[in-house]
């Protein structure tokens, strides 16, 4: 997909950076909740010794644990992807801005799609 100069300059790198950090924190929080769930399942096993209800409760807990782990693993990779995008977008915006300004100073006009013309 082609992007325009104004779209790139309008991208505020701080926002995806903070979103990336937030995803990191979310991944850690989910990890903590997973630990809580493991503790709760352990307690359940100790205090609920027999019966179909016990079996159903433990099975539900194991399935839920799997879902949490799956979600956590997905979250772990999302934060870095957003932070890397933020870093790249900031660098590209700075270079683009500098290049456009220099071009104009040398009598070269720049259209939003990157094509140039003399002014």
């Amino acid at each position: 997909m082609s992007l325009t100069i104004s779209q790139i300059l309008a991208c505020d790198g701080a926002t995806p950076e903070i979103a990336g950090i937030t995803f990191d924190e979310l991944a850690r929080a989910v990890d903590d909740r997973h630990d809580d769930l493991v503790g709760m399942l352990r307690d359940l096993e100790d205090v609920w010794e027999a019966g179909e209800g016990r079996t159903a409760a433990l099975e539900a807990g194991v399935a839920l644990r799997q879902e949490i782990l799956t979600a956590q693993a997905a979250l772990v990779g999302t934060g870095p992807a957003l932070r890397e995008f933020a870093s790249g977008a900031r660098a590209l915006a700075a270079l683009l801005s500098q290049t456009v300004n220099e071009a104009r100073a040398h009598g070269v006009g720049v259209a939003d799609d990157g094509t140039v013309m003399s002014i």
Partner: protein, 341 residues
């Protein structure tokens, strides 16, 4: 006149072409960044099945053991699918966090998980110690220590001495946990910086065993232009630097009684002219005997063979103080910008 106009026209055309090329490249880079981000975010989405088995499960025993050749580890990592890598990081973070050959991004993620787990463990241990202490003191006050140590009481031994010994042990363990938690707090402060103007920190090594150990990189060494290995403190053996410092182009050692070797040529993976050391006047490390057999030579000694930089006088923890010449010198060594004094 005609010639000058033609030259000006040629110059204008060349400028246009140059800027057009630069802008095309930057727009192409932006599109590539966009595509790469889409690919990463898509790869990191959880499978649609809400209750199905976790994708890419990798058994613990199939992860290369510590000490495996980094190239072998890297080949293993490259052979994993994206979901398998996520599984390894999420489920075996203790195995891959310090594993040489695993990319820094993944090690950082794994170590942050271990970091949180260790923090939780130490805090839980701290609470257990407080509960045990309160229990012992209450039983002591109520004269019921024989209930706590029935075997000793049955043999006529002093239950009070046993309680005092346990309380002393609790004190020592608490001091140990507090020290580690304090260090963890300081690391967390740097890891969790949300100021976008500050470079991201990567946790590329972490362990609370012994005195604890953390390797924090400012910026990603896998993609950095300059990689400086900073070796702080007492008695680090870096004769065979691991993956943390496998890309060591330069090494800065401060306040060290020795680095496990007598000469710079025994340090593998870094050239002698890029190994720098310093010791501040006033640093009590001067009082550690320079015994070759214990730590190796003092790395600031001439016969060690490395290069030496100056520090302002100060204590063992002052090298990074703002304005300290050591801090300026380490920055110059890292970036190659300026003259080390």
């Amino acid at each position: 006149m005609h010639g000058q106009e033609a030259a000006a026209a040629r110059y204008a055309l060349a400028a246009q072409e140059s800027y057009a090329t630069q802008l095309r490249q930057l727009l192409a880079d932006a599109a590539a960044l966009d595509e790469a981000t889409i690919a990463k975010l898509t790869a990191n989405r959880a499978p649609n099945s809400a209750t199905g088995p976790m994708a890419g499960a990798i058994p613990r025993q199939s992860v290369p053991v510590a000490g495996t050749d980094p190239a072998t580890v890297h080949a293993w990592w490259d052979g994993l699918a994206e979901e398998e890598r996520r599984y390894v990081v999420a489920n075996h973070p203790d195995l891959v966090g310090n594993l040489d050959g695993v990319p820094i991004d993944a090690r950082d993620q794994a170590n942050r998980i271990v970091f949180d787990q260790e923090t939780d463990r130490l805090q839980a241990h701290r609470h257990d110690l407080a509960d045990r202490e309160a229990y012992l003191r209450q039983m002591m006050r109520e004269g019921r220590l024989a209930e706590v140590y029935p075997d000793l009481a049955a043999r006529g031994l002093s239950v009070r001495d046993a309680a005092l010994f346990d309380l002393e042990t609790i004190d020592q363990q608490r001091a140990d946990s507090d020290g580690k938690l304090k260090g963890i707090g300081q690391i967390a402060d740097r890891l969790n910086v949300t100021d976008p103007s500050r470079q991201r920190a990567y946790l590329i090594g972490f362990s609370t065993e012994g005195d604890g150990r953390a390797v924090v990189s400012i910026g990603n060494p896998d993609t950095a232009d300059n990689v400086l290995t900073y070796v702080p403190g007492t008695g680090a053996d870096i004769t065979h630097p691991g993956g943390d410092i496998k890309r060591a182009e330069k090494m800065a050692i401060d306040a060290s009684p020795g680095v496990g070797t007598n000469t710079v040529t025994d340090l593998h993976g870094v050239s002698a002219d890029q190994v720098w050391s310093t010791r501040a006047d006033g640093d009590p490390i001067h009082f550690v005997p320079d015994l070759d057999l214990v730590h190796g030579n003092d790395p600031t000694r001439d016969d060690f063979g490395g290069r030496v930089f100056t520090s302002d006088p100060g204590g063992h923890s002052d090298y990074w103080n703002k304005g300290n010449q050591a801090r300026r010198n380490i920055a110059i060594i890292a970036t190659g910008q300026g003259v080390v004094s």
